[in-house]
Protein backbone atom coordinates (compact mmCIF):
# COMPACT_ATOMS: atom_id res chain seq x y z
CA UNK A 1 0.00 0.00 0.00
CA UNK A 2 1.49 3.36 -0.92
CA UNK A 3 1.40 6.07 1.70
CA UNK A 4 2.66 9.55 0.93
CA UNK A 5 3.98 9.98 4.50
CA UNK A 6 6.56 7.22 3.99
CA UNK A 7 8.06 9.07 1.00
CA UNK A 8 11.21 10.96 2.18
CA UNK A 9 11.49 13.20 -0.92
CA UNK A 10 10.88 16.92 -0.27
CA UNK A 11 7.68 18.41 -1.65
CA UNK A 12 6.46 21.94 -2.17
CA UNK A 13 2.72 22.32 -2.67
CA UNK A 14 2.05 25.98 -1.86
CA UNK A 15 -0.29 26.72 -4.76
CA UNK A 16 -0.17 30.44 -4.05
CA UNK A 17 3.61 30.57 -4.54
CA UNK A 18 4.13 28.10 -7.39
CA UNK A 19 4.57 29.76 -10.79
CA UNK A 20 3.95 27.49 -13.75
CA UNK A 21 5.04 28.21 -17.32
CA UNK A 22 2.19 28.93 -19.78
CA UNK A 23 2.26 25.31 -20.99
CA UNK A 24 1.73 24.12 -17.41
CA UNK A 25 -1.13 26.54 -16.84
CA UNK A 26 -2.83 25.48 -20.08
CA UNK A 27 -2.46 21.85 -19.02
CA UNK A 28 -3.91 22.16 -15.52
CA UNK A 29 -6.72 24.40 -16.78
CA UNK A 30 -7.56 21.64 -19.27
CA UNK A 31 -7.88 19.20 -16.38
CA UNK A 32 -9.92 21.61 -14.25
CA UNK A 33 -12.31 22.42 -17.12
CA UNK A 34 -12.75 18.68 -17.68
CA UNK A 35 -13.70 18.03 -14.07
CA UNK A 36 -16.10 21.01 -14.17
CA UNK A 37 -17.79 19.56 -17.24
CA UNK A 38 -18.21 16.14 -15.65
CA UNK A 39 -19.87 17.84 -12.67
CA UNK A 40 -22.23 19.76 -14.97
CA UNK A 41 -23.21 16.60 -16.87
CA UNK A 42 -26.32 15.83 -14.77
CA UNK A 43 -27.61 19.37 -15.33
CA UNK A 44 -27.11 18.99 -19.08
CA UNK A 45 -29.00 15.72 -19.25
CA UNK A 46 -31.75 17.14 -17.05
CA UNK A 47 -32.18 20.12 -19.40
CA UNK A 48 -32.30 17.78 -22.38
CA UNK A 49 -34.95 15.67 -20.68
CA UNK A 50 -36.96 18.73 -19.73
CA UNK A 51 -36.80 20.19 -23.24
CA UNK A 52 -38.25 16.95 -24.65
CA UNK A 53 -40.93 16.65 -21.97
CA UNK A 54 -43.64 18.51 -23.83
CA UNK A 55 -44.61 21.85 -25.43
CA UNK A 56 -45.10 23.59 -22.05
CA UNK A 57 -41.78 22.39 -20.67
CA UNK A 58 -40.06 23.42 -23.91
CA UNK A 59 -41.52 26.91 -23.68
CA UNK A 60 -40.66 27.27 -19.98
CA UNK A 61 -37.00 26.81 -20.87
CA UNK A 62 -36.79 30.15 -22.66
CA UNK A 63 -38.00 31.78 -19.45
CA UNK A 64 -35.41 29.78 -17.52
CA UNK A 65 -32.63 30.94 -19.83
CA UNK A 66 -33.57 34.61 -19.60
CA UNK A 67 -32.54 34.57 -15.91
CA UNK A 68 -29.24 36.43 -15.47
CA UNK A 69 -27.69 33.91 -13.06
CA UNK A 70 -28.60 31.07 -15.43
CA UNK A 71 -27.05 32.90 -18.37
CA UNK A 72 -23.87 33.39 -16.35
CA UNK A 73 -23.71 29.69 -15.48
CA UNK A 74 -24.36 28.83 -19.12
CA UNK A 75 -21.55 31.15 -20.21
CA UNK A 76 -19.19 29.44 -17.75
CA UNK A 77 -20.08 25.96 -18.99
CA UNK A 78 -19.83 26.99 -22.66
CA UNK A 79 -16.41 28.52 -21.97
CA UNK A 80 -15.32 25.35 -20.16
CA UNK A 81 -16.33 23.34 -23.25
CA UNK A 82 -14.55 25.73 -25.62
CA UNK A 83 -11.36 25.85 -23.54
CA UNK A 84 -11.29 22.08 -23.00
CA UNK A 85 -11.80 21.57 -26.73
CA UNK A 86 -9.03 23.98 -27.81
CA UNK A 87 -6.52 22.69 -25.24
CA UNK A 88 -7.57 19.16 -26.16
CA UNK A 89 -6.90 19.76 -29.86
CA UNK A 90 -3.44 21.03 -28.88
CA UNK A 91 -2.84 17.77 -26.97
CA UNK A 92 -4.02 15.70 -29.93
CA UNK A 93 -1.61 17.57 -32.18
CA UNK A 94 1.20 16.90 -29.69
CA UNK A 95 0.25 13.20 -29.80
CA UNK A 96 0.81 13.42 -33.56
CA UNK A 97 4.17 15.09 -32.97
CA UNK A 98 3.10 18.64 -33.84
CA UNK A 99 4.21 21.28 -31.33
CA UNK A 100 6.10 18.81 -29.16
CA UNK A 101 9.27 20.79 -28.58
CA UNK A 102 9.41 23.79 -26.31
CA UNK A 103 9.23 26.80 -28.70
CA UNK A 104 6.32 25.30 -30.66
CA UNK A 105 4.71 24.05 -27.44
CA UNK A 106 4.70 27.56 -26.00
CA UNK A 107 3.26 28.98 -29.24
CA UNK A 108 0.57 26.28 -29.11
CA UNK A 109 -0.26 27.13 -25.51
CA UNK A 110 -0.64 30.83 -26.33
CA UNK A 111 -2.80 29.90 -29.34
CA UNK A 112 -5.16 28.08 -27.01
CA UNK A 113 -5.36 31.19 -24.83
CA UNK A 114 -6.02 33.36 -27.90
CA UNK A 115 -8.68 31.04 -29.33
CA UNK A 116 -10.42 30.96 -25.96
CA UNK A 117 -10.40 34.76 -25.76
CA UNK A 118 -12.05 34.96 -29.20
CA UNK A 119 -14.61 32.33 -28.20
CA UNK A 120 -15.30 34.29 -25.02
CA UNK A 121 -16.05 37.47 -26.98
CA UNK A 122 -18.38 35.55 -29.32
CA UNK A 123 -20.10 33.86 -26.38
CA UNK A 124 -20.57 37.22 -24.63
CA UNK A 125 -22.15 38.58 -27.79
CA UNK A 126 -24.61 35.67 -27.88
CA UNK A 127 -25.42 35.47 -24.18
CA UNK A 128 -25.83 39.17 -23.52
Amino acid sequence: MTNADKDPRPKYLNLLQIRLPVTGIVSIAHRISGVLLVISMPLGIYLLQHSLGGPDEFRSLSGFFSNAAVRLALLLIVMAVAYHLFAGIRFLLIDLGVGEHLPAARRGAWSVVGATAIAFLLALFVVI
Binding site: T2, G34, I45, L48, L52, E57
Partner: protein, 112 residues
Amino acid sequence: MNMQMTGLRAWLVQRVAAVYVGLFSLYLLIHFTTNAPGSYLEWRDWVGHPGIAVSWALFFIALLLHAWVGMRDVLLDYVHNTAVRLVALLGLALFLLAQGLWALTVLLGAGT
Protein backbone atom coordinates in the same frame (compact mmCIF):
# COMPACT_ATOMS: atom_id res chain seq x y z
CA MET B 1 -2.71 -4.74 -29.22
CA ASN B 2 -2.83 -7.39 -26.52
CA MET B 3 -5.72 -8.24 -24.25
CA GLN B 4 -4.29 -6.67 -21.09
CA MET B 5 -5.73 -3.39 -19.76
CA THR B 6 -2.70 -1.33 -20.75
CA GLY B 7 -2.46 2.44 -20.47
CA LEU B 8 -2.24 2.50 -24.24
CA ARG B 9 -5.78 1.20 -24.62
CA ALA B 10 -7.20 3.86 -22.27
CA TRP B 11 -5.21 6.54 -24.11
CA LEU B 12 -6.59 5.41 -27.47
CA VAL B 13 -10.18 5.20 -26.21
CA GLN B 14 -9.89 8.72 -24.78
CA ARG B 15 -8.49 10.12 -28.05
CA VAL B 16 -10.99 8.44 -30.37
CA ALA B 17 -13.87 9.45 -28.08
CA ALA B 18 -12.48 13.00 -27.97
CA VAL B 19 -12.56 13.29 -31.77
CA TYR B 20 -16.20 12.16 -31.95
CA VAL B 21 -17.27 14.42 -29.07
CA GLY B 22 -15.42 17.37 -30.63
CA LEU B 23 -16.96 16.84 -34.07
CA PHE B 24 -20.46 16.29 -32.65
CA SER B 25 -20.17 19.44 -30.53
CA LEU B 26 -19.19 21.39 -33.64
CA TYR B 27 -22.19 19.89 -35.46
CA LEU B 28 -24.50 20.95 -32.60
CA LEU B 29 -23.08 24.47 -32.64
CA ILE B 30 -23.65 24.81 -36.38
CA HIS B 31 -27.12 23.30 -36.15
CA PHE B 32 -28.26 25.63 -33.36
CA THR B 33 -26.88 28.76 -34.98
CA THR B 34 -28.27 28.02 -38.46
CA ASN B 35 -31.37 25.95 -37.79
CA ALA B 36 -32.46 26.42 -34.17
CA PRO B 37 -35.67 24.55 -33.33
CA GLY B 38 -38.58 26.98 -33.21
CA SER B 39 -41.05 24.71 -31.46
CA TYR B 40 -41.23 21.66 -29.24
CA LEU B 41 -42.40 19.47 -32.12
CA GLU B 42 -39.55 20.61 -34.36
CA TRP B 43 -37.08 19.89 -31.56
CA ARG B 44 -38.54 16.51 -30.67
CA ASP B 45 -38.77 15.38 -34.28
CA TRP B 46 -35.16 16.30 -34.89
CA VAL B 47 -33.85 14.45 -31.80
CA GLY B 48 -36.27 11.57 -32.43
CA HIS B 49 -35.20 11.12 -36.06
CA PRO B 50 -33.45 7.70 -36.15
CA GLY B 51 -30.13 8.92 -37.58
CA ILE B 52 -29.96 11.91 -35.25
CA ALA B 53 -30.93 9.87 -32.19
CA VAL B 54 -28.19 7.34 -32.94
CA SER B 55 -25.61 10.11 -33.33
CA TRP B 56 -26.74 11.51 -29.96
CA ALA B 57 -26.46 8.08 -28.34
CA LEU B 58 -22.96 7.65 -29.75
CA PHE B 59 -22.14 11.12 -28.43
CA PHE B 60 -23.15 10.12 -24.89
CA ILE B 61 -21.24 6.84 -25.10
CA ALA B 62 -18.13 8.63 -26.35
CA LEU B 63 -18.52 11.38 -23.75
CA LEU B 64 -18.81 8.90 -20.88
CA LEU B 65 -15.82 6.87 -22.05
CA HIS B 66 -13.79 10.06 -22.43
CA ALA B 67 -14.91 11.32 -19.01
CA TRP B 68 -14.07 7.95 -17.40
CA VAL B 69 -10.49 7.91 -18.68
CA GLY B 70 -9.96 11.56 -17.74
CA MET B 71 -11.46 11.39 -14.27
CA ARG B 72 -9.72 8.07 -13.57
CA ASP B 73 -6.40 9.81 -14.35
CA VAL B 74 -7.32 12.59 -11.92
CA LEU B 75 -8.14 10.11 -9.14
CA LEU B 76 -5.02 8.07 -9.80
CA ASP B 77 -2.92 11.23 -9.61
CA TYR B 78 -4.35 12.77 -6.46
CA VAL B 79 -5.87 10.03 -4.28
CA HIS B 80 -2.94 8.18 -2.71
CA ASN B 81 -4.75 6.01 -0.18
CA THR B 82 -5.60 2.78 -1.95
CA ALA B 83 -8.90 2.07 -0.18
CA VAL B 84 -10.21 5.62 -0.66
CA ARG B 85 -9.10 5.59 -4.30
CA LEU B 86 -10.93 2.33 -4.92
CA VAL B 87 -14.14 3.72 -3.44
CA ALA B 88 -13.76 6.93 -5.45
CA LEU B 89 -13.24 5.01 -8.70
CA LEU B 90 -16.26 2.86 -7.94
CA GLY B 91 -18.34 5.95 -7.22
CA LEU B 92 -17.16 7.54 -10.46
CA ALA B 93 -18.03 4.42 -12.48
CA LEU B 94 -21.53 4.28 -10.98
CA PHE B 95 -22.04 8.00 -11.54
CA LEU B 96 -21.08 7.82 -15.21
CA LEU B 97 -23.09 4.65 -15.76
CA ALA B 98 -26.12 6.33 -14.22
CA GLN B 99 -25.68 9.35 -16.52
CA GLY B 100 -25.49 7.06 -19.53
CA LEU B 101 -28.60 5.09 -18.67
CA TRP B 102 -30.49 8.29 -17.91
CA ALA B 103 -29.45 9.84 -21.24
CA LEU B 104 -30.55 6.65 -22.99
CA THR B 105 -34.04 6.80 -21.47
CA VAL B 106 -34.32 10.46 -22.53
CA LEU B 107 -33.36 9.63 -26.12
CA LEU B 108 -35.68 6.62 -26.26
CA GLY B 109 -38.50 8.82 -24.99
CA ALA B 110 -37.96 11.27 -27.86
CA GLY B 111 -38.53 8.53 -30.40
CA THR B 112 -42.02 7.68 -29.22
